[in-house]
Structure formats: C-alpha cells, structure tokens
Symmetry: C2
Subunit: 218 residues, 2 copies
Amino acid sequence: MTTPHRPAPSPPKAMRRDAAQNRERLLRAAWEVFAELGPDAGVEEIASRAGVGMGTLYRRFPTKESLLAALSDEILDSVFACFRRAAEQQPPDRALEQALWDTGEVLAAHHGWLTRLWAAIPPEADERRIELLARLDTLLTRAKRAGEVREELTTTDVYACLLALRVLIDDTEGRAPDVWRRHLAIVLAGFRPAAEPLAHPPTDDTLIRANTPKHHTG
Amino acid sequence: MTTPHRPAPSPPKAMRRDAAQNRERLLRAAWEVFAELGPDAGVEEIASRAGVGMGTLYRRFPTKESLLAALSDEILDSVFACFRRAAEQQPPDRALEQALWDTGEVLAAHHGWLTRLWAAIPPEADERRIELLARLDTLLTRAKRAGEVREELTTTDVYACLLALRVLIDDTEGRAPDVWRRHLAIVLAGFRPAAEPLAHPPTDDTLIRANTPKHHTG
DNA sequence: TCGCATCCGGAATCGAATCTCCGCTTATGT
DNA sequence: ACATAAGCGGAGATTCGATTCCGGATGCGA
C-alpha cells in the first residue's frame, strides 16, 4: 500500500555514485537496444551494451519487466508533459488537438516496440492512468466549451483515439510515416460538431454470425 | 514460387480419413484454447484438448506459427466474405460503411488475441493482403463516386481504420464493448465530405523534440 | 482378409532466455 | 590510510515451451 510504486531517481537513501551511474547507463542502453533489436532483445545484450554485468542489471531492475516498466514510465512522463504544455500554451479551443498531435510525435520516436512498452506499464500504476484520463477530460471539456468538438464525445473516445494512434505509429511509422497523421486528421474531423449525428452500428447481426468461422464457441 | 501457400483443406493427394479428422479437431481445439488462454497457450494444451498426441499436431502443422497462420487464414476468409457481401447486398453508397461494421463484428469474436493472430499471417500471404487492399479500394471508389466520403481519402486511410479497429477490439471488447463502435462511428463521421479540409499536423517540432526522453538516439 | 504406407502417442531432447550466487572490488566516512 | 558496507561480474542453474523421434497402431486398396 505504502510502497513507492516506481524506483524514483532519488529514493529515500541515496545510492552510491557508481550505482546511480550504472542505473543511468542501463536505462540508456535499454532504450538503444530495444529500439534496435525490438522488445524481444535479451537482457544480456543490454547489460553488455551498458558495460555492466548481469548481476548489476538485476540488482537495479529485479526483472526484465521492471526495466521495461521504468522505460514506459519515462514515456508517460513525456506524454504528460505534452498535455501540460498544450494546456498552458494553447488557447482552450486548440489545446486538445495540439496535445494529440504532440503525443503522436512523442510516441513516434519509439515505433516498433510501443505496444510492448505500453504493456509493461504495471497495474500498480493505475494512478497514472487515472491522471491521464483526468487530463484528457480537462482538455476535452474545454474543447467542448469552446464549441470545437461534439457534445457527445466522451473521455473514453479520446483515449481510444490514443490507443489507435499507438498501433498505427507502432506498425507503420518508418515504412509509411503519414499513416497515423492522416488517421488522426480524420478522427479530429470526426470529433468536430456537425449536422449529422454519429452513425449507429447496424443491428442486423444474423448475417454477421453466419460469417464467423465455424470452429468457434459462440 | 509455385509452392501452394496455404495447406488447403483438400490438397493434391487426399489425406487418410483419420488424418483429416484430426486436422479438423486440432483447428477446433486451437480456436478454443487460444480464445481461452490467450496466444501464449502451449501447444501441448491444444493437442490434449484435441485428443491427439504431439506427434500428430506437428505432422499437420510443422510449427506453432503455421497453426496460427491457418487460423488467421480463416479469419481473413471471414473478412473477405464481409466485403463481398457488403458489395453485393448494399447500394454502392452504403457498402463501405457496412463492410467496416461487419468486419468489426467478425473481429470482435476473437478479441484478446487478435493482434497475435494478425501477426501470424505469413509474409507469403502477400497476395491476400493485396486482395484485401484491392477490395477496400473498390468499396472506397464507389463510396466516393456516390459522394458519401471525401475525395482525399486513400485506400491506406481505410486500411488504417481497420488496424485501429483491430487494437480497440482486441484491448477493450469484453470490458467495454462499445469503445470500438464509437471509434468507428467517429472515423466514419471524419470520412464524410465536409466544408473544412482535413487538419494538418502542426509543423513546429522544436517544442516536440524537447519533450522526448533524454535517453534516446535521435 | 492381408500387406503396408501412413499415421499416432507422448517421452525425451533442444534451445533460448531469465535470474541467482558468490568471491572479488570499490566508494565512502572517519 | 582503514574498515566496511555496498556494489560488481559473469558463469551457470533453472525453467519452460517448442520440436523431434521412433516403436506401435490403423485405414485402405487388392
């Protein structure tokens, strides 16, 4: 309960200088290695690239997962920074849009293993997810108040947009760097108030079931 | 080159009856097990659930991956069926939309391991990807001709929409089954012709770089 | 029914990746 | 400079799941 959730850079009792340095080196190496070899790269490569032994790696990060978690934490910091900056520096009617574009750019720097990185956010980090949603909510509310987006939009809709961006960036940035940008542009167009309400899914699903592969427990 | 790409249900020389039956059982069990335990379920579970030994499994599907590939192949069949049906049974102005909704429903039947399933589509199946794009293109062209969607839309935009649906369905269906439906509704709204052109991403990226985690090879 | 090519079961093998252990080294405070 | 707690390296134990192997069973054509 009272356990600090993430190994902060300066926890209760200071680390020895070399230990702190090695921690830094490991994180740097991890970014590098994962970016280069993908999320399935072995920890050994990271240790050697950081110039330290396995023992050191495992003393700083008790599991590979916790290493990933430390990285995803830094990403979250960046994303939060985007939101904060957009909220502070943009007029209320532009802030949401700007925040989404910026977030896209931040994520784009890590395409190829974003999904894995995201998955490493530990469940204990719920507070951060909640904070994320809260910030999205603020931005959304302001945009609504400014009449820039439809009233029916929910925070979840915006969050879903982020999830969509995540994959598109992960899968296509590099090969086709404008795919996610176009998708975001389209979604933003869909966000805007318009004469026509959002479409409903067709409810005629008898046809649909007929289409599901036969080997499947309904 | 001339190698048949996927192990068809009725290949050149017929299998012994029991062999064919076991193949079927294995596929059925695989659907079940993956749906239940997720894509990391061991092959042993599949064999035992199918009531056959490991030897049998590996004679029919030389690798775990090829088993996954057979499943993803069936999904692709379902998706194609959606497209065909939409093209045949809907007026040209509605076909694209209907195809996307139906595809969503088909994918929704496999939430939780869709991404993994998708990843198993072997690179040799390029033809099928191409066919997929071709069909999307046809639907899109018709929709444009009917004035239902913006002229600027590309086939890639629609494909991106499918990729987005895939994650949303995979991640949220079950917990929040309307997330992907709302996203699709929003995207479809964004597809429609409108007075305002699609937004451009802001080009001021100096701010953005300042926001990237420091450990990172620019 | 007989012969045999094909197929079956499942224990043993292989391989890869994580994580542990322990004797040696080094930063730090006095 | 010394004592000591903290940190280090890296070989190898451990684990876990995919794949192979082969003696025995079985469908099928003659």
